[in-house]
Amino acid sequence: MKSAVVQLPGLNRDRDMIAALTKISGKAPVTIWQTETEIPDVDLIVIPGGFSYGDYLRCGAIAARMPVMQAIKAKAEAGVKVLGVCNGFQILLEAGLLPGALMRNASLKFVCREIKLEVVNADTDFTRAYQAGQIIRCPVAHHDGNYFADSETLKAIEDNGQVLFRYADGTNPNGSLNDIAGVMNKAGNVLGMMPHPENLIEAAHGGSDGRGLFASALDVIAA
């Protein structure tokens, strides 16, 4: 499987993401710069975390309106898998590729710690390496991760199995409705999540709970 990592001014988790994808798939991802409008032929496009365009206006708002995102949107509509982590999640929401919005953390504080996640739906291209109901560890680092959607949208994404990850064991760090940490689109090929699975993929990180997400998305699950 071929993958790509989007690089925009202000994103700073791109190198962690490139390292994770390289280690797990055995192939380095190609990189996509902000000015590109022709997206290479890949199976997975990852938008990493950071502070694209200084988080001006709203987190992810400027990035979501750049031409590169229009090109990514077209790829997503054609079925290519797209994963947005942290600022990447904010960008996907602002671009309208996922439902809902992310607001300032309820505590008003930047949170940087490890939380627990429940894998709510393991029957997806992003989570098949896990078991439904499995609790995994994952780091978070963000200021605006407070997931909001109107009650109708919330009901729809819950009923459709689009909530893939929920903060578990009282570790919701930001006030997200229904403890939502990760949301997939209805078609099942676009996932956004606030936690950073790329930072927990090997012993040197203190664990590898995040590995399953990339193994699923890259289709390299060990038999």
């Binding site: 602002e94 607001m103 407070n146 909001f148």
Partner: protein, 80 residues
Amino acid sequence: MINARVTVTLKNGVLDPQGKAIEGALGALGFDGIGHVRQGKVFDLQIETADKAKAEADLKAMCEKLLANTVIENYSISLS
């Protein structure tokens, strides 16, 4: 030339933690009886046209496409 002001506020029912914190700080300063503080944004723009209707239509499109996130925010437009 038309001067415009766009005001973006959070929709009713959307929790505003910053508004709450400001409300608490106002209370701490001794301002009693303050409630329902909501934080928003103001954009002042100049538009090179004399056509008010066109300016208004353009501003509405700007709000829908960029200035407001209509999932959580309302906007209002005033021209002068």
